[in-house]
């Protein structure tokens, strides 16, 4: 079941950070980001999630917190209003409590978000590797969000102690660390992962992300490799299914 409060965190803490890699790898995105230097803060409700997107010199940095002195501040009275913004439907009310006159900043962010959506939803070969890298990072961050906030999954993930690593062979890597009190996602390899899920190539990973693949069959055929703590893998797999529920 989709919990709207958790979904808002998935958008702010897992989806928006894709802008960092997007502006690094995609010339169209970096071109858009170069149009404005400034920061936008997202706040949901009085005690909901906060996030700050900074655009500087054609790059983007996303921090899952309310950084001080943003150029633009957007306040969403209810999580559903933020979620509707990302879903692109329904009531999308944001109260611009600061920087309402900085229209250029909002337009730049809006164009950047559109570019990110276009890449994430593209099926073309030219964006395939980028899309895979974005999805790999998004997946790890979303798992960490669910492990921290989804009431049902939090209970399951509380039994996990260790690190899960996701790899695309000869490609990007990301991992989720369940060792501490709160699950934490990072891009790049883990020093000593306990469970490793490796995909043969980006197309296969993207097909898995799109729920088009019989994962267990592919694992038996060697195109997907599962090593280490398979029990951790089972629990992580539940999160992967949940991400699909949240973002589809």
């Amino acid at each position: 079941m989709v919990n709207e409060a958790v979904l808002s965190r998935v958008y702010l803490e897992a989806v928006l950070p894709c802008l960092e890699v997007l502006t690094l790898r995609d010339t169209k995105a970096s071109g858009i980001a170069a149009l404005w230097n400034g920061s936008i803060r997202f706040c949901v409700g009085l005690s909901g999630p906060r996030c700050t997107v900074e655009l500087r010199g054609s790059g983007a940095a996303v921090t899952p917190a309310a950084l001080p002195n943003p150029d633009v501040g957007l306040f969403f009275p209810h999580v559903r209003m933020l979620n509707n913004l990302f879903r692109g439907k329904g009531l999308q009310i944001a109260l611009p409590w600061k920087g309402i006159t900085r229209i250029k900043g909002l337009l730049t962010f809006s164009k950047l978000a559109e570019r990110m959506q276009a890449v994430l939803e593209s099926t073309g070969r030219e964006t395939l590797e980028l899309r895979a890298e974005l999805m790999l990072g998004l997946m790890s961050r979303a798992i960490a969000v669910l492990a921290r906030h989804d009431p049902e999954y939090k209970a399951q993930a509380s039994h996990l102690h260790g690190v899960t690593e996701f790899r695309i062979r000869n490609g990007p890597t990301s991992h989720v660390d369940f060792s501490g009190r709160a699950a934490k996602a990072s891009v790049g390899p883990a020093p000593s992962p306990d469970f490793i899920l490796e995909f043969d190539d980006s197309p296969l990973f993207l097909d898995v992300a799109d729920d088009k693949v019989d994962v267990l069959a592919e694992a038996c055929l060697g195109r997907i490799s599962l090593k280490g703590d398979l029990h951790m893998g089972q629990i992580v797999n539940i999160a992967l299914d949940k991400i699909g529920e949240y973002l589809l």
């Binding site: 019989d214 090593k227 951790m232």
Partner: protein
Amino acid sequence: MPYAFDTSLDLFRRAARVMPQGIYGHFTPVILVPGSYPYFVAKAKGCRFWDVDGNEFIDYMCAYGPMLLGYANDKVDDAFRKQAALGSCCSIATNLSVELAERVNRTVDGADWVMFAKNGADATSMAIMMARGHTKRPKIVLAEEGYHGTQPWAGTNSVGITASDRADILMVPWGDLDAFRALTARHEGQIAGVMFTPYHHPVFGDQRLPEPSYWPEMRRICDEHGIVLIIDDVRAGWRLDIKGSSHYFGIRPDLACFSKGMANGYAISMLVGLDKLRITASKAYMTGSFWMNAPEMAAALVCLDEMEALDAVKVVRELGEQLTKGLGELAASHGLKISITGPPAIPFMRFANETNFMRSQLFCGECARRGIFFHPHHNWFLSTAHTERDIAQTLDVADTCFKIVKEKFGG
């Protein structure tokens, strides 16, 4: 020369086109080490099987328990074949059901009455229905990491399960009397039954035997609160005590579930119970198209005879002791630390200095590539068909594979 599994892989490609996962459930190779294990069996005899590539294995999984007297046991198979020639699934019950029920009544402790089915999950599902029917209460207590089948209430599946499927299931850690006491106090008058395995045998974890005071206290708490005590003996049954694992641990449950080794590989299970639940059982409508199949019952009758004649419990215990002692000594000789838990006939081995099973996967995968079928995450099983020579051959291979683990991990 390590084995290759080309034919298995070719067959799997065909399988994956027509069956989800290619091979599903606990038979999936995913939970082994894909690439180091065979996927499909061609034939089996005694404690060995041969895969579709012609590779020969000494099998320590025994079909995950059912094979207690060895694959293709002549006496059991003859009984099955003879009865099959006389009829299998028929329009009325078989006389063998009476003979088998009487035999179970004489053999298994606490089997005042018997109901037959096909799989362990049939028996465990029947058991919770009986508990609820008898007490007119909704809630069932299960142990965390326990396994009772893949039914929606059992909690092993995440697909197609709703919250309501498990709304009346309460979980406690196995062996934690305080947690169970607290639960009974919190849900006073609501708990119909508690279903635990006789000892804790989780997958991916050490097995745990009960403290001497555990089962007597569980029995006392259940009696005090009117809770039906159910033992799921599907996995351990027949390898610890011919009278049931409950008898081995000195408990008398209200209901007990059996299957696996009961007919040495033929599909039959049963729920047995004390007299106090007989009337409840008499009111329940439970059935299945093949529950009264006669050949499986003929096989079970002969299997029980053979288990008694061979003293199967003693044989598998002694073989298990030889195997586990040998593995422990070999590991130590390589400077490796292993942990072996559970009864010797049903041992679980892991490397003591890891929790992620990387060493176990390498060790078991290398053993499989050399003809020894161990499981890296699940307990193993001994059978009466294993011999001291098989154990010696196994330890020879294990020696090589411990060396490989040492070289890769250093300790």
